[in-house]
């Protein structure tokens, strides 16, 4: 029986790895995405069953306790979460993934080095490469855990979203990284008795947690898409490192897939902001030698919802450009309601989505999908930009920097070079905004002074509700 199992378990792991890849492949198309997710969850089930078979008859008390508690928390969170809160949710999941990897590596250290009272280094007990990857797993996992918690606090508004200016933060961060690496190497190859290994492992975890906080703390709200993608990637790398500790290929493969996924998203987000990853992590935004210019506005025309509704009534093509303000105001449903009225009147309505609109990759798409907006109407920046010239009305809802023409026209602007949605090329632009206060980049938006731009000041949801009311009255 055990012989047969020993043959079957590796095959089950192989099946699981293949299904993970097929599941991800399903995510490349909207139509097959849901099935892809189901395939990936089947892969997970197979991997868990294989592991339980491999373990054989053991004491299941701790295992059951962990499964029940984790399953309950995860299940309730997944079913309760609002779509507007997805960035926070993903941040927390990144954190618990990283935390799980660090905990596994710590548990292995205790199980095989510290508790048996092994006299010698961790490297001599586990083997050099396994001990080294255990160290990496603890470090990356704890950085991911604390970094994600800080990201969560910022995203949910419990911590200031604006970048904090820690002077000399680069010196502090590189110093902390060096200390963490030093402790890790000493824990692995230096400490030669169980008590010492335990002490250094705790120290490594603590410094890792501190490093995660220091790294994410100074990063501001609009850079969150980059940070959240990077933490996503790290949670995968931590899982792969755990795979090396256990010599388990399913962990290595799945971890690599997640690591690659997060890294690609990080790249896409950086490109969409015309910034490098290093700049996001290590430079304070706007602290380069750039000119933020004059923040005074002239020639701003403020309109009422009634006037805007009349313009929309006449329009035969309308593009909605949503931003983070849409998510904050939870205005996705009323946007859809307005679009439905316009469509019923014969107008063509689509949505122009900037890659970094919102606080995480794809944030706007999920919000609008929740409001039943057909995904065919959600157009990427490169697709929609040539269309603006022939668009009657662009409605900018809670977006600012991603439509700022300074990115194209002012080489001295901190956002110069960032690809933007060229809404100014359309016949008229309606901007719904709380006030004239600058966006994340802290600079003036020349669009608001354009002759074809009109501002409606107010909460996005309230203004849109007024628009819907006016449109209904006009009809």
């Amino acid at each position: 029986m055990t012989d047969v199992l020993q043959q079957i378990v590796p095959l089950l792991y192989l099946t699981s790895a293949v299904l993970f890849i097929l599941g991800l492949k399903g995510l490349t198309k909207v139509r097959s995405a849901r099935r892809g997710n189901a395939i990936a969850s089947l892969a997970m089930l197979i991997a868990v069953v294989a592991t339980l078979l491999d373990l054989g008859l053991v004491d299941y008390r701790w295992i059951l306790a962990g499964l029940v508690v984790g399953g309950a928390i995860g299940g309730v969170a997944a079913l309760r979460v609002e779509m507007t809160a997805m960035p926070e949710m993903v941040a927390l999941f990144n954190g618990s993934g990283g935390g799980a990897s660090a905990l596994v590596a710590l548990a292995i250290l205790w199980l095989e080095v510290i508790e048996p009272g092994h006299s010698g280094t961790a490297a001599s007990a586990l083997g050099g490469s396994n001990a080294l990857t255990a160290f990496l797993s603890i470090l990356i996992g704890s950085v991911t855990l604390s970094g994600s918690i800080v990201a969560f606090l910022k995203l949910s508004g419990r911590l200031r979203g604006r970048p904090g200016f820690l002077s000399a933060r680069n010196v502090i961060n590189s110093g902390t990284t060096l200390v963490a690496l030093g402790i890790g190497f000493y824990m692995t190859f230096g400490a030669a008795d169980p008590a010492a290994v335990a002490t250094w492992a705790v120290a490594l975890t603590a410094v890792g947690l501190l490093l995660g906080i220091l790294l994410v703390w100074p990063i501001g709200g609009a850079d969150m898409p980059v940070v959240i993608s990077l933490l996503n990637s790290l949670s995968g790398v931590a899982a792969a490192a755990t795979g090396f500790v256990l010599d388990n290929n399913v962990l290595i493969i799945s971890g690599a897939l997640v690591g690659a996924s997060g890294l690609i998203l990080t790249q896409i987000m950086c490109k969409a902001m015309n910034r490098t990853l290093g700049h996001v992590l290590f430079a304070d935004f706007g602290d380069d030698d750039t000119d933020t210019g004059d923040n005074e506005y002239t020639n701003v025309r403020s309109f009422s919802a009634e006037e805007a509704a009349m313009m929309l009534e006449d329009a035969s093509s309308v593009v909605v450009v949503p931003g983070y303000g849409l998510a904050v105001a939870q205005a996705q449903h009323v946007v859809r309601e307005m679009a439905d009225i316009l469509t019923a009147q014969g107008a063509k309505v689509s949505y122009g989505i900037h890659p970094v609109a919102g606080r995480m990759p794809g944030h706007m798409n999920v919000l609008l999908a929740e409001a039943d907006v057909p995904y065919e109407q959600l157009l990427e920046m490169d697709r929609i930009n040539p269309d603006f010239k022939t668009t009657d009305v662009v409605l900018v809802v809670g977006a600012n920097d991603v439509v700022n023409p300074a990115a194209e026209s002012q080489p001295s602007s901190p956002i110069y070079g960032m690809p933007i949605l060229k809404v100014g090329e359309s016949r008229s632009v309606i901007v719904i905004k709380r006030s004239l206060s600058p966006g994340y980049a802290g600079i003036k938006n020349g669009l608001f002074e354009h002759d074809n731009a009109m501002m409606i000041f107010g909460d996005a949801k309230q203004v849109l509700q007024d628009l819907v009311k006016e449109l209904k009255e006009l009809a």
């Binding site: 299941y60 969170a77 090396f244 399913v250 896409i268 999908a369 995904y375």
Partner: protein, 96 residues
């Protein structure tokens, strides 16, 4: 010993390439479900956590293992469920 590590590295590097190939093809519309799905997949550390918690005794390693199981299960259950919920919304207009 080095043999196992080397095989592991081969697997890791090749899997990274597979990941890059597939994920660059995922459209921006699906980037949020991709992240939450990736969250669920990174819950694969559950496999390692099960190993770590296999002894029923009240030892530090078992407690760490049980905590790891809880964290990883949050990812697995929560990640797959919330991804499914989101993807259900993407399809809803079509099904009507």
């Amino acid at each position: 010993m080095m043999g196992v590590l080397l095989v592991g590295l081969y697997v890791f590097v090749l899997a990274c390439f597979v990941g890059f190939e597939i994920i660059t093809k995922i459209p921006p519309t699906l980037h949020t479900p991709l992240m939450s799905g990736a969250n669920a997949i990174s819950g694969i550390t559950l496999v390692g956590a099960l190993w770590a918690a296999r002894s029923g005794e009240a030892k530090i390693s078992s407690i760490l293992g049980a905590l790891a199981i809880a964290c990883a299960t949050i990812n697995v259950v929560g990640g797959f469920l919330v991804t499914d919920r989101m993807l259900g919304m993407f399809g809803s207009r079509k099904d009507k």
